[in-house]
Amino acid sequence: MLYVVLFFLAISLLLYVILAGADFGAGIVELFSSDQNQQITKKTVYRVMGPVWEANHIWIIIILVILWVGFPEFYNVLVLYLHIPITLVLLGITLRGVAFVFRHYDAFKDKSQILYDWMFRISSFVTPIFLGMTFGAMLSGHIIIPEHIESQSFYNLFIAPWFNGFSVFVGLFFAALCAFLASILLIGEASDEERPIYVRKSRIATVTVIIMGFLVLCFSYLYDIRFLSNFVKNPYALTLVAISALLIFPLLRSIKLARKITTRTFTGVQVVLILIAALIAQYPNLIITSDASINILKTAAPDKVINVLGISLIVGGCIILPGLYHLFRSFKMIKIFER
């Protein structure tokens, strides 16, 4: 049952990164567009994301619940030492969520739209950076777990773990990844005249992701981050990354031809591969602290709890996944009819 729970945890994480990631990315694409394109993007984003965006963001709640129910001590370390970046992520999620709704449901469309738009774009950009920094912090090896909290300074305990070069680059990498996902998604959704905009954007985003990924690696090498050596030593992780790197070529070609479905599939596969590689390289030591690592399996709750959690996840999954599939399908199906 433990593995069922871990499976759901991994799936939720992947889906959150892809679905919410594309959603954050849409705001980033909007932020880095010319005025006119901004309005076009705004409309397309609303049409595409509107029905599903709320559901996309629930994955993080599922992740959270699985962690605190199933792996309480693991969760405890996260919320204790990464309190600040998590709070910043929450601030971003809040501002972004309300801005998204306000700008579409405000009864009058007047100057206040400008405010909502900027709130939406900026928080779309900043939130994934902090989210990425939080992930980075788990692997950067700066978390200190002291015997007595008083023995360390505030900076060392609560700031250094996430405010360091490695984490910052992971944050930027994640933001670039989001923009990449979004622009690919938009290629498929935009009308024919607008499609070239997103083809151009996807190319820029692809290059940015590659540069950022490279910088993350450079940084881990220079500062001897343990994540890198684990990564390099793990043949599965390396294979996965290699496959995903090779996929870039057909992807770029497919972007050039403005193909919808293949582009999307390549992108999805690529991102999933990179994420799985990063997870596999560390698994099961998913947090690296300054002098040890935390094995997620060892922090698991008692069997009875895990069993009940696993069963609830399976039952919940059976209800939700078909519903979700239907939701996604319905609104895409409709588009085909409209054409």
């Binding site: 629930i58 599922i62 605190w68 129910v69 919320v79 209800i319 939700i320």
Partner: protein, 435 residues
């Protein structure tokens, strides 16, 4: 302000904010589907306008509820890591089921909001019902988690360790049913009166009267029904508390000295130092009766509990309880009045009728917040009743005050923004005379 106080205030403040949006987001879909059904049946376009405008309200409230709820689920861990480390696995059941309920709700809402003219009519309407049912389910589940904190069960507590965890027993803890029943009714009462009040005010101002009258009737039918049932459920809660958390009961009544045939105090000013309540109205033997159904039963006073298990702020608990019960009684009467008004339709022509309901708009929510203050402050100093103290659960990270200030600013701005948006919705509605 020390760290513990800041964390407690932050928790309280964010919950007080979330509950308003969550309640509206959970109850308004019911109003919306009734209006929608009436449109389907009568084809009266006013109902369509109403449904669409309530739908916008639902969307705005839903999202504000959802983001503040997301913040809350993190906060449980961020503020009370020790609590979550031990309690997380035990009360995982309600929270994981709640996650499922949120999902169902979000999916159904996606269908509902974007399904106009795209989905089959009946199915579209039905997805609105699912939104409401899933919302109520998530409310019940989270309150069950709170019930567990008041009435912990489903584990053995041996030498500071939680052994033999039984998540299902924890879900159905002794507190869950009374609390969930009372809370669900409260949500309907509060939202019903608030929405009806807003529309009553528009009727009073003679703006688009036909529409606002219809809206008023739908909302208040729910609100008044719930308000009539509320005192019964409150009485069940009080009897429950008398058994399970006698300290809380004593604090609610500012009842300092153990007494047989204890009187019930209405109002009064609490002097905690001298342990007296002045300027009160005293109803002899009523407290004994309310708590135990027996006029001569003995009610234990605060003095007979050790100092360190008594809530500190007796006065707050007492006043909050008075406010809740006072408003509860008032809304019961007004609720009955509303049903009588169907026989005496002449009242609907009178100004006082509409002013009355406009003035009552906020009272349901005031009672609801007051009730939570009774429950939560009355539970102090325990975070898990008789097991773990709040001060042992708080995060060791210093500087919680800043986080508290941040939330104050953020949520104050959001409150203002949402209120402003709602006034704009109404303005828009009043201008849409055409339909």
């Amino acid at each position: 302000m020390d760290n513990l106080d800041a964390a407690r205030l932050q928790m309280a403040f964010t919950l007080i904010f979330h509950i308003v949006f969550a309640c509206i987001g959970m109850v308004m879909p019911f109003f919306m589907v009734v209006a929608h059904k009436k449109w389907l049946n009568t084809k009266n376009p006013i109902y369509l306008t109403l449904t669409k405008s309530w739908q916008k309200g639902v969307a705005i409230f839903f999202v504000t509820g959802a983001v503040s709820g997301t913040a809350l689920s993190f906060e449980l861990g961020l503020l009370w890591p020790e609590f979550m480390k031990h309690a997380g696995p035990i009360i995982g059941m309600p929270f994981s089921l709640e996650g499922a309920a949120f999902f169902v709700e979000a999916i159904a809402l996606g269908f509902y909001l974007y399904g106009w003219n795209r989905l089959p009519k009946k199915f579209h309407w039905f997805t609105g019902i699912i939104v409401g049912i899933a919302g109520v389910a998530s409310g019940i589940l989270v309150v069950s988690a709170n019930g567990w904190m008041n009435a912990p069960s489903g584990f053995d507590y041996v030498n500071g360790e939680f052994l033999n965890i039984d998540p299902i027993k924890a879900l159905f803890n002794p507190g869950w049913f009374t609390q969930a029943l009372h809370m669900t009714l409260a949500a309907f009462t509060a939202t019903g009166f608030a929405v009806a009040g807003v529309h009553a005010f528009q009727v009073y101002k003679k703006k688009h009267k036909e529409l606002h009258m219809k809206a008023f009737k739908i909302a208040l039918t729910f609100g008044a029904l719930a308000a009539i049932l509320q005192p019964i459920s409150g009485d069940i809660s009080a009897k429950d508390i008398a058994k399970r958390q006698p300290v809380k009961l004593a604090a609610m009544e500012a009842h300092y000295h153990t007494q047989k045939g204890a009187p019930l105090y209405i109002g009064g000013i609490v002097d905690n130092e001298n342990q007296t309540v002045s300027y009160k109205i005293e109803i002899p033997k009523a407290l004994s009766f309310l708590a135990f159904g027996d006029f001569d039963a003995e009610v234990k006073g605060l003095n007979d509990f050790p100092e360190d298990v008594r809530p500190k702020n007796i006065a707050l608990v007492h006043y909050a309880f008075q406010i809740m019960v006072g408003i509860g009684s008032l809304l019961l009467i007004v609720g009955l009045l509303f049903f009588i008004s169907f026989k005496k339709q002449i009242w609907w022509q009178k100004k006082w009728f509409w002013i009355l309901f406009a003035v009552l708009a906020p009272t349901g929510f005031i009672a609801l917040e007051a009730g939570w203050i009774v429950t939560e402050v009355g539970r102090q100093p325990w975070i898990i009743h008789n097991i773990m103290k709040t001060k042992d659960a708080v995060t060791p990270m210093p500087g919680m005050v800043y986080s508290f200030y941040m939330y104050i600013v953020l949520y104050t701005v959001l409150t203002v923004a949402v209120t402003w948006l709602m006034t704009r919705q109404i303005k828009f509605l009043n201008n849409s005379k055409t339909v």
